[in-house]
Amino acid sequence: MTGRLRIAIFGASGYTGGELLRLLLFHPQVEVAQAISQSYAGEFVHSQHPNLRKRTQLQFTSRDALKECDVLFLAVPHGQSQKQIDHFARFAPKIIDLSADFRLRDSALYERWYGEKHAAPEWLGKFVYGLPELQREAMKTASYVSGVGCNATAANLALLPLVRADLLHPTKPVVVDLKTGSSEGGAAVNPGSHHPEKSHSVRSYAPTGHRHTAEVIQELGLHDVHLSMTAVELVRGVLATAHAFLKPGVTEKDLWRAYRAAYAGEPFVRIVKDKGGIHRMPDPKILAGSNFADVGFELDTESGRAVSLAAIDNLMKGASGSAVQAMNIMCGFEETAGLEFPGLHPI
């Protein structure tokens, strides 16, 4: 008996499941009791996550073998959690669902952006949105926490200081251009992900209408906000470049104050706006594998346009890292436990 909390990961063979395993196998206060994958039941975890070879002898188990645990992570494709949430809730008092199923509180907003009715709308109000920088206090007493959209996370972290400081122009839109890595698409393949098609491409895959927009609308209270997605030559990483017009008279020092007010106390958000050094603005390259989000900004005083940037690892701060951070908060652990890897340089 280790005294550690028992964790189960349902959907452990995908990329976010693999990241959860990488983080939780070395977390000081939990024990990974089960890694569930219907497709790979019976196989060693390292068959799908080769970085974990010789670090665990855990084998995937089938979904029917799910046992009671203290915290259940759901890392299944969109749409599956909402259909089985009553079933899952019988196995654990705390659930963190990484999918998009429980991110939105309003079923009408869900239907508008996902084009279908929610299968368990009565559960939407039970979940707390999974970004600690926005919902830390609510997480402390939550039993159920959602995942976060990786693109939404980058957009939200880029814009949060401007929203909290009430600096945005009241009648002008906010446009967020997002450059994304290929791992956002998950472990499943499709003709577009075939190497000759994907390699070296700069692919606009959702110039308008991306679903993560709904999370920015909900969490920041913005309504005239627009996201555009471009897949670039990265495996991990998202860079959000938000273009926002500010109220007249806002100075760059006002922006420094706003960003410090939002992030000075945040363990995983760093302001990167440097006149020296090699990386002077946020760049997802150096964040691979880390839970850090780097944010920066520049102000065009002629036009009043602020360009706010946020870089993350989509699988970490944009998914599994935030989920583990949420678990730490829910369980009263040190918020940074298991998440202190600073990334690699060079990489």
Binding site: K253, W256, R257, D274, K275, G277
Partner: protein, 54 residues
């Protein structure tokens, strides 16, 4: 303890700082020239604008 004139970040200078010395802000990375000690006055120093060939 003083503040950076560029970003208002907290700046701690050594006790032996002298006029004319260049110090760097840890927050925004700007080079600052110590114009005077009493009163302590700092101003951004000329700094190369690097575009990394872009």
């Amino acid at each position: 303890m003083t503040t950076c004139p560029e970003c208002e970040g907290a700046l701690t200078l050594g006790a032996d700082v002298i006029a004319g010395e260049i110090v760097v802000c840890g927050d925004c990375g700007v080079d600052l020239e110590v114009l005077s000690i009493t009163p302590l006055t700092l101003a951004p120093a000329p700094q190369e604008a690097e575009d990394w060939g872009e």
